[in-house]
């Protein structure tokens, strides 16, 4: 959270305590936060223990990591109900902690100012295109020069959510010839509005109420692979972003399809963290397969730390303010009463000793998603 967002919370009458050096990665000093009105605390456990509301970026990796969070505390952050260890949430439930996850925020217009996923996707999408331009050993733009014509790079973007659109826009700006595909048909217009071509593959799926894609059936998936073969072979650079919340990312590009690509091509897989859109993706690493570099992008947002943390911080501050106005309150014995609000309701992972979020409940019961746990 950048100092100005902290300042806003302070000016709204909240006491803000910060772990020392929390802003370093994004280029902010403790002094700047102090100037904004925050109290700097050297000791993390003191922060954990002494706050009514803990605003974090990511949740803990292990159940025990953040011991000492008192009953009635609210934890707000990107808590990853679909992939973080279930034990963490069970531990919180047992400890009377309430967990609100920013990634469960409904994707409705009025919630957009708190929509962390949009912000991060924006960063990631831009970044993916820049990284693709940097990794691809070719010009992106068309150049007609005295030494002949360099054709433009062909960029294929699979999945045109927020990140995909941003990647399309960025690659188009750089002069690449961009094609894109998504299973949600309404995306066609959005893709075209950015000057790119939308592929007509006749593989469609409906969107959920939040605009997320639903999973394709077996047959549809096979068809998609089949029909993507040609565009994939055509492309110099591919950026994949296809994700379905709570599911392993669909495999859009098989090994065989990669073999069909020109050597020296690049794939930036933004779905690496949820399993990857290619068969060879490894999250956090670039692997070479058949002469094609497949970048399993992880945490691309951290590559623009200042901008990303500004966006995240503002979203978070907006959400805290929203919570406040919606009527978050503690009674005398520090029992929390959550406001009954559409948006907040959807974000509750853990409250009053219970796991609430349906995805989380399913995972505890079925354990199907364990592929993704890390």
């Amino acid at each position: 959270m950048p100092p100005d967002s902290v300042g806003r919370l302070v000016s709204q009458g909240h006491a803000v305590t910060m772990e020392s050096a929390a802003g370093h990665g994004a280029g902010f000093d403790d002094e700047q936060y102090q100037a904004a009105g925050a109290v700097i605390e050297q000791d993390r456990s003191a922060v954990l223990a002494g706050s009514d509301l803990l605003a974090v970026v990511n949740g803990p990796r292990n159940a025990g990591d953040w011991a000492g969070v008192p009953r009635g505390t609210v934890v707000v952050g990107l808590l990853k109900p679909f992939s973080a260890p279930v034990e963490v949430f069970e531990f919180w439930a047992s400890g009377g902690v309430t967990a609100l996850s920013m990634d469960a925020l409904p994707r409705v217009s009025r919630a957009q100012s708190m929509d962390v996923l949009s912000s991060l996707s924006t960063v990631i999408g831009y970044r993916a295109a820049v990284v693709a331009a940097e990794r691809l050993r070719k010009f992106f733009p068309l150049l007609m020069t005295a030494a002949g014509t360099i054709p433009p790079a062909r960029v294929l973007v699979l999945g045109a959510g927020v990140a995909g659109l941003q990647a399309i826009a960025t690659a188009h700006r750089l002069g690449a010839q961009v094609e894109a595909f998504d299973t949600r048909p309404e995306v066609r217009e959005q893709v075209e509005s950015l000057g790119a071509r939308f592929l007509t593959l006749e593989v469609e799926t409906s969107a959920t109420q939040d605009g997320y894609a639903t999973e394709l059936g077996e047959e549809a998936h096979r068809q998609e692979n089949e029909r993507l073969r040609e565009p994939v072979a055509w492309a110099d650079a591919i950026i994949t972003t296809a994700q379905i919340p709570g599911q392993r990312a669909p495999i859009l590009i098989t090994r065989e399809m990669i073999s069909g690509m020109k050597p020296g091509s690049v794939i930036i897989d933004l779905a690496a963290e949820s399993g990857g859109n290619t068969e060879v993706t490894e999250a956090g690493r670039a692997v070479f397969y058949a002469g094609v570099e497949v970048v399993g992008a992880q945490n691309l947002a951290s590559e623009l730390p200042r901008d990303a943390s500004q966006l995240y911080g503002r979203n978070l501050a907006n959400f805290l303010q929203y919570l406040d106005q919606a009527g978050l309150a503690w009674d005398a014995d520090h029992t929390l009463s959550l406001p009954d609000d559409d948006i907040v309701n959807r974000m509750v992972l853990v409250h009053a000793g219970q796991l609430i979020h349906t995805g989380l409940v399913k995972r505890r019961e079925g354990g199907v998603m364990d592929v993704l746990n890390r």
């Binding site: 409705v108 217009s109 009025r110 957009q112 100012s113 949009s118 912000s119 924006t122 999408g125 927020v162 659109l165 941003q166 826009a169 700006r173 217009e189 959005q190 075209e192 509005s193 950015l194 000057g195």
Partner: protein, 453 residues
């Protein structure tokens, strides 16, 4: 008639023609009006100087002075918004005057003169009756139950048929005094009134223009009666140009003239003045509104991106800047379908970054903005977000475009935006809708603005 008078009349006729011509373009309109006034003075002076008699000169002078005074005072007093009914009123008097002049000369005339005089009486009186009703309706001094529309129209037509029959009888029978004349006139006025009664308020301007042309024709007919070429020319000029103008006006409403004066749409027109109705606007009106504004804010939205009309929007602002209009873009943080969508788009068109103002910065400025041009934006301008607690947009900060003086919305239809809710902005009385693909509409604006240079 005296040849000198004739030549002077000819000069004033020429001034009339040129004056109307000048009135057709914004830059010269005022000189046009002045030419007309000079032509009129010339005509009156000539008439006074060369009149064959000067009987009753004192009375005439007094009455003319009285009339002028009434004209000046009422024209000065009237509120700007009441201009159309004022014009209707004056027009009615003009028609009445033509009828009276004809009636005054009619008794004793015969042959063509008699026919022409009767024609004038009928035309002038219809114009009189219709105009007075138009005036009263626009002043909201009378209201008509629309279920009576058809009845009124049929009655009006019947009355007019009777008038025509009577007039033909009088002309062919060759006798009839001032009383018969007054009778014909009263009946014709009633017919005009009946036909005008059911026409809706929104359509009135077109009808007034039509009646105006009619008055012109009646003046021309008077000219035939009096063998006065100036009257013929001036009246015909008004008749002909008024007809063209009427056509243009109904075309600007995307209606046919017949539809305006007759069809059931009139009823809708009536409703059209009430709150809650969408008011369309034409390209040229939008262009004029923009061109004569001081401050304009353009609010782009997803529709701009869909239309890929960024080059056109850039041209519109360049042209407006050329006219000295201050133009800014108000960028809503979630306009479009991805963060920064508008930025990408406008950068393509090379719009300078400092013309892009974010929501928080532009919102206080709407209050003194003359025109907001909303280009394919919907949700981000929806005032329901401020007021309708149940709306899915409730609580989302929006661009307060409704605080500006005028709002023009460019979109293809009444279609909804991303959030899928209706936008009360579109029925705000100060909002006008410019329907059509944004690329096309902006292109048309460019054309209009360029022709206004």
């Amino acid at each position: 008639m005296n040849p000198i008078a004739q030549v002077l009349y000819m000069a004033s006729a020429t001034l009339f023609v040129l004056g109307v011509r000048f009135l057709g373009s914004p830059a010269s309109a005022r000189s046009g009006n002045r030419l007309l006034a000079i032509g009129m003075l010339l005509a009156l002076g000539t008439t006074l100087a060369f009149a064959p008699h000067y009987d009753h000169v004192v009375w005439v002078a007094l009455v003319a002075l009285l009339g002028s005074a009434i004209g000046v005072v009422s024209a000065r007093r009237v509120r700007m918004t009441a201009m159309p009914q004022m014009v209707a009123f004056f027009n009615g008097l003009g028609g009445g005057a033509a009828a009276l002049v004809a009636a005054g000369g009619w008794p004793g005339s015969s042959g063509a003169a008699s026919w022409l005089a009767l024609l004038t009486m009928v035309l002038g009186s219809v114009s009189f009756g219709g105009s007075i009703i138009a005036f009263l309706k626009l002043q909201e001094w009378i209201r008509v139950d629309l279920r009576m529309a058809l009845g009124l129209r049929l009655l009006g037509l019947t009355v007019l048929a009777a008038v025509v029959a009577g007039a033909v009888y009088l002309a062919t029978s060759g006798h009839g005094g001032i009383g018969a004349a007054l009778g014909v006139m009263a009946a014709a006025a009633a017919g005009g009134a009946l036909l005008t009664l059911p026409i809706g308020g929104a359509d009135m301007p077109v009808v007034i223009s039509l009646l105006n042309a009619l008055t012109g024709l009646s003046a021309a007919a008077t000219g035939f009666v009096l063998q006065n070429q100036l009257l013929i020319i001036a009246g015909t000029l008004v008749g002909a140009s008024g007809t063209i103008l009427t056509q243009q006006m109904s075309r600007a409403m995307h209606r046919s003239l017949m539809n305006v004066i007759w069809s059931g749409k009139a009823a809708q027109g009536e409703a059209g003045t009430a709150e809650g109705t969408v008011q369309p606007i034409t390209h040229d009106d939008t262009a004029m509104l923009l061109r004569y504004a001081k401050k304009v804010v353009v609010v782009p939205g997803y529709g701009l991106a869909v239309a890929r009309a960024q080059l056109e929007v850039k041209q519109v602002i360049d042209l407006l800047n050329g006219f000295g209009v201050e133009v800014l873009f108000g960028i809503h943080p979630v306009a479009g379908r991805m963060p920064g969508h508008m930025n990408v788009l406008l950068a393509e068109a090379d719009v300078a970054y400092d013309q892009l103002w974010e929501m928080d910065r532009i919102n206080p400025r709407f209050r003194d903005t003359d025109v907001v041009l909303v280009v394919g934006a919907n949700d981000v301008t929806n005032p329901a977000a401020r007021t309708q607690t149940g709306s899915p947009l409730f609580g989302m900060p929006i661009l307060n475009v409704d605080e500006a003086r005028h709002v023009v919305v460019l979109k293809r239809s009444m279609g909804r935006g991303f959030a899928g809710v209706d936008n009360p902005l579109y029925v705000d009385p100060k909002t006008r809708m410019l329907f059509g693909d944004a690329k096309h509409s902006l292109g048309a604006l460019v054309r209009e603005l360029e022709s206004a240079q």
